[in-house]
Symmetry: C2
Subunit: 443 residues, 2 copies
């Protein structure tokens, strides 16, 4: 286990140093471990005799090479060329005419990042080749065309980026993609999923948003398995929906399929951070199966319709005790649309009634949701709700606050007439209302 030292001509390290990434290897260490997998690019650990190997399980390990370790080159022996050779070839060139292919739109985020060991932080990968080097199995079942759209952490994406993405998805289907995968940072992934759900109609195949809670070069990364699942779903599912695929639990072999309008990031770090709210996920999948909990929207025939119009001057305000009406009013100034995340069944303190009434009178479409996240708003149970309703507030059933915000941007892109916007808001467009009758226990 020597850490450094002069090169030893016949030890495994010298061979490994020169070996192209993507080769399938096996290392038998002098102390009895056996590591088998694909060689991936090293971290900033040069000189430390460490190689990174992507195991068949999808995990990466860093193995420190001892002069006594033994190396076998498995793909030379079997003559199959390995998977990793793909990593440096432009993927588009490998698409044969007529063969179904998946479009992978890369936007940045952890799924396309790596740990920078100098800062301890995470930085985006440099190019498509580096991205693919982390995902050597991506094209195991068929071609994937990678298009880098952004290279940004998702907290820095804005509604205009949703418009760009919608157009890119439309273009991919226009070029014949069987399905589209969007690799995305997890911070605002659910917002983008909701936006694409409203902007894209008549989808001829799945649009699968996917992210990672840990960068793909980390041993515990969920990026590899998530992305493989997303690509498989995009290639095979006969659905016409925008969905989110992420770990269903801490286990690496089961993935939840969330409807794009019903999902929320509910944990800062866990791999199963994404949860469908107010009901089960749309479905789940493992290596062998795709199971639908509720029927997905089937794939449409004919071309996709992209309507990327979005309004502006829309706000989302979470209410809380002690929020002064003046502050809430300052926040709401000049808004064309305002989503309130009220308490309980969709309540505000009565101190807010005056400015809400005034805002509605000035034409601000004002929509009530619940900060509980689960359950539905209802203006008819308490006096507070009835007063807000009389003030002109629109009660949005069980729309999630974030989805209501995205939908209001979308609706205001289509009409500036508050009544038309209200009608659009209450019409189910993309499964954003669960529509299930509440059981007694829920009432």
């Amino acid at each position: 286990m020597s850490a450094t030292g002069a090169p030893v001509p016949d030890d495994a390290w010298e061979t490994l140093r020169r070996l192209p990434r993507g080769r399938t290897i096996e290392i038998e260490t002098h102390d009895g471990h056996r590591w088998r997998g694909t060689l991936v690019p090293p971290h900033d650990l040069s000189g430390e005799r460490v190689v990174q190997i992507k195991l068949d399980s999808g995990y990466n390990v860093g193995v420190r090479i001892d002069p006594a370790d033994r190396l076998r080159l498995l793909d030379e022996e079997t003559g199959n060329g390995g998977n990793g050779g793909n990593a440096t070839a432009p993927s588009r060139a490998r698409t044969r005419d007529g063969e179904p292919w998946v479009a992978l739109l890369s936007t940045g985020g952890t799924i396309a990042s790596r740990v920078d060991y100098r800062t301890g932080g995470v930085r985006p990968v440099q190019d498509e080749a580096e991205l693919l080097s982390f995902y050597p199995d991506l094209e195991r079942d068929g071609p994937v065309r990678v298009t880098p759209v952004f290279d940004r952490l998702s907290e820095n994406l804005a509604p205009e980026d949703w418009q760009t993405l919608a157009r890119e998805v439309g273009r991919a289907f226009g070029e014949g993609a069987r399905g589209v995968v969007v690799a995305h940072g997890t911070d605002t992934l659910a917002f983008t999923a909701a936006a694409l759900s409203f902007q894209l109609e008549n989808l001829p195949g799945p649009v699968v948003l996917v992210g990672a809670q840990r960068s793909p070069d980390r041993p515990s990364s969920d990026g590899v398995t998530n992305l493989a699942a997303a690509v498989r779903l995009a290639r095979t599912a006969p659905i016409g929906e925008v969905v989110v695929v992420m770990h269903a639990s801490l286990s690496d072999d089961r993935f939840a399929i969330h409807r794009g309008t019903r999902v929320r990031k509910m944990h800062a770090t866990r791999r199963d951070a994404f949860q469908s709210r107010n009901g089960p996920s749309l479905g789940w999948m493992d290596a062998a199966t795709v199971h639908w909990n509720t029927p997905p929207r089937p794939a449409a025939t004919g071309p996709v319709r992209v309507d990327d119009r979005l309004g502006d001057h829309v706000g989302l305000l979470w209410l809380y005790p002690g929020l002064s009406p003046a502050r809430a009013e300052a926040f709401s100034k000049d808004l064309r649309g305002l989503v309130l995340a009220g308490t309980g069944l969709g309540h505000s303190s009565t101190v807010h009634l005056a400015w809400i009434r005034a805002a509605v009178a000035l034409g601000t479409v004002t929509v009530m949701t619940s900060q509980c996240l689960d359950g539905a708003v209802d203006p008819f149970v308490y006096a507070t709700g009835r007063e807000l309703l009389r003030a002109g507030v629109l009660y949005a059933d069980d729309l999630l606050p974030e989805t209501a915000y995205v939908k209001l941007l979308w609706a205001l892109g289509r009409s500036s007439d508050p009544r038309e916007v209200a009608a659009l808001m209450l019409e189910d467009r993309a499964g954003e209302f669960t529509g299930r009758r509440l059981a007694e226990g829920d009432r």
Copy 2:
């Protein structure tokens, strides 16, 4: 099953009409049902021959009386006077010297409301007697002194009301209460629980906040069982904490005990709407047992300390894609303290860095939490976090956004020096940080 009709002198209805509320009765209906319980005040259904009976299970039923039904007065027969007679006597008068008693502070909300059948809405009960009439078993195990503090839906409570409540709790312990129950609307119950957690120190007994998702006159009300559990915990638990007791599931016989700083209303309507975030609840209880998942803070000796000071000009802002920096800045104007509910590990778009930096420079204590609700913020993983940290933002580990807001009000009531406030914010005062080392799966 005649719906109306002239009085039939010798049928059960005539007797029932004249019977005082609180009597223990049994009705054997002509079609073979048997209802046994305590007579409670009727709804606005007079003339329809319907009586309301609170069953031993805690549920209310409305029974339509047929002339052929048979009535038995159980408390006359057994001579024990029933439970319900308590309802109209002032409860304080029944406290014998030296007998342990529980203080019940009533603030309004569903737990102290009833359905108004004219409007279909819910209205607060009129007085203590009406409240107790819904809870005839309240004093089964010992005296309860009821003090109406407010009669308000909790969405209309504000931080100054938390101050009043803190003083009332202090007064009750000062007068010798064994424990204190606060009956509270559920909308902002978690905010109040957090506030009392910080304002009250050296608690000699439990402070138990309790609410109901359905008013106590409804057959499916959870108010009766919740309140009974809360009173029992307040009377018996040797703890010195502020906790929330609500249904643990849809079942009526198990109650979760939540730490006041770790709980959130997570469903608009379900009886088990309250959930501890980022870990298990503090404990649970059923009719026979109290079980602690983690050790509660033991009851203190010596008098309770009430420090009801709260700062002002504190805001809570949830971030989202498309929030304009100008709007966020307008919201944050003149704030002494600002809690941000950022995305993921505690991020904002970089478009907000300038005004955040300026606000911090002007002395606004700016605290970052995560809108995921679960997991902890961490500024060291991504460039965004490191920039926010450099801008002077305080990362608040796994404080819930709402708890952070309440705590910042509290901290600014104690100091106006941003460094002192920051130190107070990061010090565990009332179990507000879970403090558990994150397991690999969580990282």
